[in-house]
Symmetry: C2
Subunit: 486 residues, 2 copies
């Protein structure tokens, strides 16, 4: 334990998860580490769930970096512990609680989270629970596989519980870069001008007297296997890669490709795979989550550097990841989400953003959160931070859903997360539509022509023809009763 908990004084604070969980009381606001199922606390949440399952009345507001794993979101949701949840989740039980109306969920841009915590918009943060690979003599914390809001939470929380996770290799030390942004009016320019640049320190500052408890655990990050890449995803990826190649040839993207952001999942993996086949060299990733595909590209010698706030390795790849960590650590950096998702940096670097939509409409508005307008899927996450500030903002979805029964391109999306102003390019397996500079009606034309599945083209063409004929105002013609019929 000496290289994990680095002073005798600190080791005195070691206690059981159950004992540590006692610092969390009914009505409190608790902030935790975690971003994707990586780097979130496990033992203390499980102990908290045990208390609730044993009959104790306890409800908390839960703030995290983004989604977290089953031991935190799943167990606490099932135990009925969560009153409010911010800002994003991907867990089945949490999602069910939100959609049943039991859990109050507020869906917030990830780049807004650290600021809101620091501005006091969430009120007092009673306890922060942070997973770490180690704690330094002065109390400063070496995070594990994600950073998220850790630094803001530790700064604002009354008490800090540290989960030292021995399943996370100590060799992760040094891949983190923590830079604190001061609140206005004291905010200064963030000095980051390159994906690989270090601007902070490799630990989170934490006063010793804030550390209420240290818990030792070895529960692994509960990551998922990477889904195999299906044909549709391959088509979308190929369309995007070809578009980027053409834009570069036209001189509208610099010859040396700009940094890439991509969401999580199989299309994202397919795009990175597709870029492996191009002439682009020395690719840079400026994103949130570094997944398997990034390390495949590092192995292929294609990646110059990758920056994220989370490291999510599938169980299948974990062993080879650990074996090559000494090599990978020269090529990757983890930052707080205050930096990874910061508009200032995304604009400055000129990131090319690629994110997934649930549906989009003929005028280019994107729904990425609410199925049929009412059913929360995951949340907006960082997609808005990137799309809104990207050099190029690309959204993709399969052209149909429900086994081909419904079109993913509709007259009017039932929830808007990204407005027509923020969507440059949309892609389905049918094709790609470049919307830049087009009027709404031109957008509808090219979207229907290029992206809609053949069996829904006529219906959408008729919608816009009829709306255009019957509307006195022809900028964005609509017939809302028709659009939402049935």
């Amino acid at each position: 334990m000496d290289n994990r908990i680095r002073s005798q004084e600190l080791r005195k604070k070691i206690m059981s998860p159950k004992e540590a969980s006692q610092f969390i009381k009914d009505g409190m606001t608790v902030g935790t580490s975690g971003f994707t199922p990586a780097g979130y606390p496990k033992a203390v949440p499980l102990a908290l769930a045990d208390r609730a399952n044993g009959g104790e009345k306890i409800k908390i507001n839960l703030i995290t970096g983004a989604s977290v794993g089953e031991e935190l979101d799943g167990e606490l949701a099932k135990a009925g512990v969560i009153k409010r949840r911010y800002p994003y989740q991907t867990n089945n039980d949490m999602r069910n609680g939100i959609n049943s109306g039991e859990i109050k969920f507020s869906d917030i841009h990830l780049s807004h989270m650290p600021r809101w915590i620091k501005y006091g918009f969430f009120g007092n943060i009673d306890v922060a629970v942070i997973e770490a690979v180690a704690v330094n003599v002065d109390g400063s914390i070496i995070p594990s596989t994600s950073i998220g809001c850790n630094n803001a939470l530790v700064d604002k929380a009354d008490k800090v519980i540290i989960e030292v996770n021995t399943s996370q290799p100590i060799e992760l030390e040094g891949i983190h870069d923590i830079y604190d942004i001061k609140n206005p009016p004291y905010t200064q320019p963030i000095p980051l001008t390159g994906v690989e640049q270090k601007i902070g320190v490799p630990y989170i500052k934490c006063p010793l007297d804030k550390i209420a408890a240290i818990v030792v655990t070895d529960i692994k990050d509960n990551t998922r296997s990477v889904a195999p890449i299906d044909q549709d995803s391959k088509k979308m990826a190929a369309l995007i890669v070809e578009f980027i190649v053409q834009e570069s040839k036209k001189g509208r993207i610099p010859e040396k490709l700009l940094p890439l952001q991509s969401g999580v999942g199989s299309v994202a993996n397919a795009i990175l795979g597709g870029l492996e086949e191009t002439d682009f060299q020395d690719l840079e990733i400026y994103s949130e989550v570094l997944q398997d595909s990034v390390f495949d590209l590092i192995d292929a010698g294609k990646i110059k550097f990758a920056s994220g706030t989370s490291l999510t390795i599938s169980p299948e790849r974990l062993e080879s990841f650990y074996k090559n960590l000494h090599k990978y650590r020269e090529k990757i950096i983890l930052r707080s989400e205050e930096i990874s998702n910061n508009p200032e940096i995304i604009r400055r670097l000129g990131v090319i953003a690629m994110n997934t939509a649930i549906e989009f409409d003929i005028y280019g508005n994107v729904n990425s959160t609410n199925i049929q307008g009412s059913r929360m899927m995951n949340g907006i996450g960082g997609s808005g931070d990137f799309a809104r500030n990207a050099y190029l903002s690309i959204f993709m979805t399969k052209s149909t859903a429900k086994g081909g029964d419904i079109s993913s391109i509709v007259p009017f999306v039932k929830h808007v997360d990204h407005t027509e102003h923020d969507v440059h390019v949309v892609v389905t397996e049918q094709g790609l539509a470049d919307l830049r500079g087009l009027s709404p009606k031109e957008r509808a034309e090219v979207i229907i022509e290029n992206c809609v599945h053949p069996k829904f083209k006529d219906k959408l063409r008729k919608y816009i023809e009829s709306a255009d004929k019957n509307s006195k105002y022809k900028h964005t013609p609509h017939n809302f009763e028709e659009a939402f019929k049935g």
Copy 2:
């Protein structure tokens, strides 16, 4: 002319508006100065309209900083010269052309404009027409009452036509601050950390050989009178001022008030007027348009500094403005919209943003552009740049429209410009709703309770009750057929 056109070489380029207009040909993309009816070219557009009215076939794509005056948008729209229009307008004839479907309008965030010009997303810029108070020996241009996209347009255009406007006082020289942002991957942090800080030069660089023509004119900015502040606007302003005071008392806004942005119009004026009555001292404005009310506050000794990209003085106040220009110029600065609307700066300074909505919905989504979803009003302008990055993002509208016949708060807005993720506070003359951290259903409750006109409260309450009862998914309950009925 010697102090306006500062070399013999340049004076050789003086020609009539008609002659200068010949550089503009059918099919060209033309970028002009102008932001609000301030600082836009007048003589050359009038000559161009004359050509079209005389039977010449000429259509152009028009790019401006934002809205412009009658001589440009109005006359060219009426003459049928405009094929495409970017990014914002407030002119009746232009609006009619857009809504009849004749003019293709693309509604773009103002902060995106300079980047898109520089990235080549609009294609080649054939001619830039820039209003100036003077031209230096080396060709560099001293703009007049606005900057907008001037620097990006001059940089990218093949040819530049300068309208030296002698109705604009030469004393404007020195109030401009032009800082050029390099394209990725060469972009650097913008060194601006204070509203009053100068980071650039007081002129727009322009190679001498780019200057195709210089036209001398004395046509005044076609500004409008300020509408008197009505009772509803006064109520909204009072609610916002009181909210800001309370937030400051709670320590959620720094004691020294953060810089303010407010849209154009009578509520904005009323808010600034209301702040005059508070204990806040040394107010700072970081906005787009500096209007009469800013100068009233300077006169009252309340303003420390005001930064904008445009100076729109009503005809009634113009004389006193010119008389006191020597005093005002110590307190104001004009920047390019690349800086005034830049997310990097808006976040860093912690701007409090106050913008007007056409309608908003019970879940906090805002429509600020399309009346009834199809009829373009003006455009999103800079509201999204500010709302999305503000320390606090406030939207306001009167609770009813059409003389009280319809509610401005609806189940689902017919066009989304600002999503639920970007709207912190909504205000009507009925009251204010603080939406931060609330779930969608909680937002609906507080919006209906505080902001909706009494005669529409029951209907909206019934809508959400019935939607909640009939929807399996209760995160954002909707009944779309009901929402868009009739």
